[in-house]
Symmetry: C2
Subunit: 304 residues, 2 copies
């Protein structure tokens, strides 16, 4: 009765603040199965990480000891166990710097990848370093700039296989706060896109970034005075924030090869905004990069 | 036994989204008593406004019919009754445009002041128009720019007794959202000020406004890497946002007489930021302006 049973040679884990995703992996880096839950780092005390992990992977275990390679906020100070940042410039990941997490179950051996830090200007990342390693594994020799849109968008200068510098923008978090919790939320409900409104808004803050504070309230005023459509208001908010980010990130993308790593929807928005500036960005799948990066770590670890 | 009893010749009401403040007024504009509650417009259905008002003013009523003059979000579409915006350019207030609110109690006659709207760029205000009228009543002949810091800061060009144009910035709301609900909240708890950090941050976004998205996350990164003090982080966040606002509001304050209307704390911050740009702003008390504006409306109404 072992037919159909998934056995993991190793387990890949992407453990962020809000979510946990795991994959039963073959030794060659092929995912055999996946699972996920909302037991992110933000909800767990240190003693609760191992049970949360086992709830998802128990059926993939058969008594043998299996390596688990994890990345993300699970390695933050308030996570399972702190995996201290590695300082750039350095390679995106390094198996020798992974931290062993304390476990009870003899069937798992958990290692957590550290994030990266930068002294000047001060900056940090956790999780994205693994996606960067994956992007470089999938596109060996890539030299240029990686942009990882999300709650905290990262712009990363990569050269000769190392992360040279990076900068974080709170664009995604600002969008969510403003769209869901500010006075603008009243005009943001509903579905649909408005590419033209997005394009105009990107161009607007890209050329006049200081106007954003005033442009934001205009969305509310137009809603009250002229009944601005919610899809238009949302597209314009997204465009204003992405345009402001592009204005500040110009030293990253100007004249550089750029690759986007993220969700299809967000990558499409950034790609559209960059294309208007003459930059044709390569689009990489975020999950594929995460898995390729964790696989790099697994292989490095196995070879040590 | 009437000694010590407060009798109102009329009642002034400042009725915002979150709070209701009322004053028992003498006919000459002197406040005899005041009261307040958190029964702001945001918490009330149309039928609940009159009871909320009566809970605060009942002891000031003696059977005679008393005028109540109200300003603020109480006149919004979702308020007690809509008092439609008056379009600028126009005087700050006009008693003839006030709307009577439906009431049951024969002891009160409630009139609500409308806000102001601007077609291009689209903008609206409610409540501030009454403070502007008050500022002009307290400083007749003022010609220049009024700045009303708050959740939604207004910059208002006033000339020849009329509101010529205005612009709203969401600076206060953004500060609250970011300081209380974003990832930066972790490094913002505590007391104290840091004037130097504030000044540097104002200068920073005033000259490079597009950098704000990156500067924000730096506060988090510095908290993690170097233990940035919460007072410094808060002062810097305030400075970054006010600096960005000043960058966009430059056409308002540059070379103009400027007066600030607001809480002492916020006015002090804006005054400090403006002083660094060579602008010595007059500071007016927000409550005094509100009462003077409502008194103007009461007198206009009595003279009709």
């Amino acid at each position: 009765m072992t037919s159909g049973r998934i056995v993991a040679d190793w387990i890949a884990a992407d453990w962020g603040t809000s979510n946990l995703r795991v994959w039963a992996m073959a030794a060659d880096g092929t995912p055999r199965a996946e699972a996920g839950s909302d037991e992110g780092m933000g909800r767990l005390a240190p003693g609760e990480f191992e049970p949360a992990l086992l709830r998802l992977i128990a059926s993939w275990l058969d008594g043998r000891r299996v390596p688990v390679i994890a990345c993300g906020m699970v390695g933050a100070r308030q996570g399972w166990i702190e995996a201290r940042y590695r300082a750039v410039p350095c390679t995106a990941v390094d198996a020798a710097a992974m931290i062993a997490a304390p476990t009870q179950d003899p069937q798992i051996s958990v290692r957590i990848a550290p994030g990266l830090s930068q002294a000047q200007p001060p900056d940090v990342m956790r999780g994205e370093e693994t996606q960067i390693a994956g992007a470089l594994a999938l596109h060996p020799g890539f030299d240029g700039v990686l942009c990882l849109p999300g709650t905290h968008c990262k712009w990363v200068h990569v050269s000769a296989g190392e992360v040279v510098s990076f900068q974080t923008f709170m664009t995604g978090e600002l969008f969510d706060l403003i769209a869901r919790q500010s006075v603008l939320r009243h005009g943001m409900q509903g579905e649909g896109d408005d590419d033209q409104a997005f394009d105009t808004a990107v161009a607007d803050t890209l050329s006049r970034p200081e106007k954003i504070g005033a442009r934001l309230f205009s969305l509310r005023a137009e809603g009250l005075l002229t009944g601005l459509a919610p899809a238009t208001a949302r597209a314009r908010l997204s465009g204003l924030l992405i345009g402001m980010e592009l204005a500040a990130a110009r030293p990253y993308w100007l004249g550089q090869p750029v690759a986007l790593i993220g969700s299809p929807r967000l990558s499409a928005a950034y790609s559209r905004a960059l294309a208007a500036q003459g930059v044709q960005a390569l689009i990489l799948d975020g999950t594929a990069c995460t898995l390729a990066g964790l696989t790099s770590l697994y292989r490095q670890e196995a070879a040590r």
